[in-house]
């Protein structure tokens, strides 16, 4: 009994990620500026490609009159939309600060734009997780 709990503790210790300043800075910066989590770790090509893809997707969404979700406690789909949008980090903050992304219901493409913005945020979440994995040495 006691041995098994010791083994479990050892296993957890062995798999635990080393806590380094980079393992905090890279994901935080990557969230704020898409791709920057890779750039700061000298993955320049990957960082540039991630930044170009996520920023372009977000901006295309705005150009298509996509809607930005605001914090809300109502409809579950609105909450999920907000979670997706927030993934874009600095882009979301900038958009909200400038009151962009109000969405034009009159345009059929506006719905595509809304989805582009949400997916840009969700893709940035994946990029942030990847930057973290690089920072802890799980990925090269």
């Amino acid at each position: 009994m006691a041995n098994s709990s010791v083994e479990k503790t050892k296993k957890i210790d062995a798999t635990a990620a080393p806590m380094t300043p980079m393992s905090i800075v890279a994901p935080a910066l990557g969230w704020l500026i898409p791709g920057a989590g890779h750039l700061i770790q000298k993955r320049f090509i990957r960082g540039a490609l991630l930044m170009a893809s996520i920023v372009a997707m977000f901006l295309l969404g705005l150009a298509m009159q996509g809607r930005i979700y605001k914090p809300n406690g109502g409809d579950i789909l609105d909450i999920l939309g907000f979670v997706g949008d927030v993934g874009a980090g600095g882009l979301y903050i900038l958009t909200r600060a400038n009151d962009w992304g109000q969405g034009a219901i009159a345009h059929a493409t506006a719905d595509y734009g809304t989805k582009f913005i949400i997916v840009a945020g969700l893709l940035n979440f994946i990029a942030v997780a990847d930057a973290y994995h690089i920072a802890i040495g799980k990925k090269q």
Partner: protein, 60 residues
Amino acid sequence: MNLELSHFSAAILFAVFASVVFGITQRNTSRDMIRYGLYCFAMFVGGVIVAGWVMWILRR
């Protein structure tokens, strides 16, 4: 600015950007990243075409 893309061109752009991110984040070596990115792009575009034909058949 108001950009009005067709459904297909919006889907292609979506596929390009998502495939780049998937390729970079889901594989370890450069070669695997390119291969997986191309695979994802093919699946996205193929899925759009298949879904389009399925909807066309259902509509008839």
